[in-house]
């Protein structure tokens, strides 16, 4: 992969559900270290686009490349092994495992062979790395707590930590700010920015919280009715009349 190769390249992606065209000919690139925001009103096709990129929906047409390698039709687990992490809109921790076990699980499939993991150490040699990730997301005091016993915001942080555990080159964050209180949100944003600076990981962020997305992202794509209607820096998007008409409502 050369320095100019996009981490993620989406070309002519379309997905229909019967007569409803959820995504229509969407194309965009995400460059290394970039934080791209994907915004749009409800029903604009953001989550469908995410699921098509991540192999959880089969698109009607289109092509996806990760680090120059075609991944169209690949399963979500294969994409993760190629360096793509994700979080979900709804809570998606493993409630009956401790925070530590949640984080270790997020990294263990990247260690050795499947048979090797059966005969290897119970923690797959990941406790030190997991502790580092727990410290990074300031979850030290919750390390051995069952994830299901945490508050909503704390579970969102665990969810994010899991997405980063395998050292991905790209992370897709689906509404990371949804339902998170202001204090926790500031903490989450600060940690995401710090991770991006330290590791050069690219993010694609779907978000309805405009303040959060405008302050976090370096570039923003606006979707409406399954099509890209605007693309640019946060300040450009704020003043774009098409976006104001279609999304911000004037």
């Amino acid at each position: 992969m050369s320095a100019g190769t996009p981490v993620l390249s989406v070309r002519d992606m379309s997905k229909s559900f019967g007569a409803i065209h959820a995504v229509q000919g969407v194309s965009f690139d995400v460059m290394p270290g970039e934080i791209l925001g994907l915004i749009g009103p409800n029903g604009s096709g953001k989550s469908t686009l995410f699921n098509c990129i991540l192999g959880q929906l089969t698109p009607n047409s289109g092509r996806v490349e990760v680090n120059g390698q075609s991944v169209s039709g690949r399963r979500a687990c294969d994409l993760n092994r190629l360096g793509v992490g994700r979080t979900f809109q709804q809570l998606s921790v493993f409630p009956q495992m401790s925070v530590l076990d949640n984080i270790i699980l997020a990294g263990q499939e990247h260690r050795g062979t499947m048979l090797g993991r059966l005969f290897g150490a119970p923690d797959a040699g990941l406790t030190a790395d997991a502790d580092q990730m727990i410290r990074f997301f300031r979850l030290d005091h919750l390390r051995d707590t069952m994830a299901g016993a945490l508050s909503y915001g704390q579970q969102k942080l665990v969810d994010a930590a899991m997405a980063f555990m395998a050292g991905p080159s790209l992370v897709l964050l689906d509404e990371p700010a949804g339902g998170v209180n202001l204090t926790m949100l500031a903490n989450l944003k600060e940690r995401l920015v710090a991770y991006n600076r330290e590791h050069g990981t690219s993010f694609v962020v779907i978000e309805h919280n405009m303040e959060f997305v405008m302050s976090l992202c370096t570039r923003i794509i606006v979707l409406a009715e399954g099509r890209i209607i605007a693309e640019g820096a946060p300040d450009e998007i704020r003043s774009n009349q098409t976006v104001i008409d279609a999304y911000l409502g004037g």
């Binding site: 991540l54 959880q56 399963r75 979500a76 687990c77 993760n80 092994r81 992490g85 994700r86 979900f88 709804q90 809570l91 998606s92 921790v93 493993f94 409630p95 009956q96 495992m97 076990d101 270790i104 699980l105 997020a106 263990q108 499939e109 990247h110 260690r111 499947m114 993991r117 059966l118 005969f119 290897g120 119970p122 923690d123 797959a124 051995d144 707590t145 069952m146 299901g148 016993a149 945490l150 909503y152 579970q155 899991m162 395998a166």
Partner: protein, 325 residues
């Protein structure tokens, strides 16, 4: 946090199992051996159902495959030590095949698929009498003879069963403590999230069925020399329900749950025999009450009591929904 009481309890349990048959009649020895044999099958189903969350109503059919394989081979003069791995391997492979429907259907649909498989096995065992002896079954299977350790008398056979039970349980402990165990739990709790973290949920689903079935095959391989007479009715759907009951009563997803559950299903009716004609009614009532007031089983009951003193471990009810995706 490591609790020093656990190894001590485990040691005491093993001593109790070693001393249990001393001075007992042949019938009690048979019941105790039967408990351990069914406990092996239940430990296997606990992996499939309790840890990996895949319902199976076919555990008795895999016991049957293991039992018939060992019976046919040992009657043909093949040593048990060779026949047993053959039966276990066959169950592993058939279990792997039965896992494929689980990649497409879940819940009660999967339950019916496995139920149909159990019925299919029962019909084959009953109708193909050239192989299985049909409704008359097979009899006269020899018990294993390990040179200085002949298991033909009931007491040595009990200790032989105990050794097999301890080894198979230790292997299962190794599996559930390994990263595989974490992967099985992730499959149960949130398969979509697990897949997004690089876990090949198809492969782990198939393995959950295959390993659980192999344990039932091992139980069948022990059942055959224990009773020395097998017929299709021993592996019917009702027997699968009994193994399921063992897992659920003991505590699905808890390591020692199925062992305790097997004790309730096999041993409790014997303890209640003093009530004469009422013992099965009392037994059924006790099971109903347990399920109504403690659906997480006996081990779950213990955990609930512990959670009262350590509330940090309790799962927040309001967070359960969000975790399901």
């Amino acid at each position: 946090m490591r609790r020093p009481g656990k190894p001590v309890l485990l040691g005491l349990g093993l001593v109790a199992l070693a001393l249990a048959p001393v001075g007992q009649t042949d019938y009690i020895l048979y019941i105790l051996s039967s408990w351990l044999v069914f406990a092996i099958a239940a430990v296997g189903l606990n992996l499939t159902l309790g840890y990996a969350g895949q319902i199976s109503l076919a555990q008795a059919s895999f016991m049957g495959i293991g039992a018939y394989t060992v019976a046919l081979l040992t009657l043909a003069g093949v040593p048990w030590l060779v026949a047993m791995p053959a039966g276990v391997l066959l169950c592993f492979l058939v279990g792997l095949a039965l896992g494929f429907p689980a990649l497409r259907v879940q819940g009660h649909f999967l339950a019916f698929v496995t139920l149909a498989f159990n019925t299919l096995f029962f019909l084959v065992a009953r109708n193909e009498d050239w192989l299985t002896g049909g409704p008359y079954g097979l009899s006269g299977m020899p018990r294993p003879d390990f040179w200085l350790f002949n298991t033909d008398p009931n007491l040595p056979f009990y200790y032989f069963t105990l050794i097999v039970f301890v080894i198979s349980s230790a292997l299962m402990w190794g599996i559930v403590r390994s990263p595989w165990g974490r992967a099985f739990k992730a499959l149960r709790e949130n398969p979509i999230r697990a897949e997004s973290l690089g876990l090949d949920t198809r492969r782990i689903t198939l393995l959950a069925f295959a390993i659980g079935s192999a344990y039932a095959g091992l139980a069948g391989a022990m059942f055959s020399p224990l009773v020395q007479y097998i017929e299709p009715g021993s592996f019917s759907f009702v027997q699968s329900l009994r193994v399921l009951l063992m897992v659920v009563v003991g505590g699905s997803g808890f390591f020692f749950g199925p062992v305790l559950g097997a004790a309730v299903v096999i041993l409790l009716p014997e303890f209640l025999r003093f009530t004469e004609g009422y013992y099965l009614m009392i037994y059924a009532t006790m099971v109903i009450l347990l399920m109504v007031f403690c659906p997480s089983g006996l081990i779950g009951l213990g955990q609930r009591l512990r959670d009262r003193f350590r509330p940090g471990r309790e799962l927040r009810g309001d967070m359960k929904q969000g975790a399901q995706l």
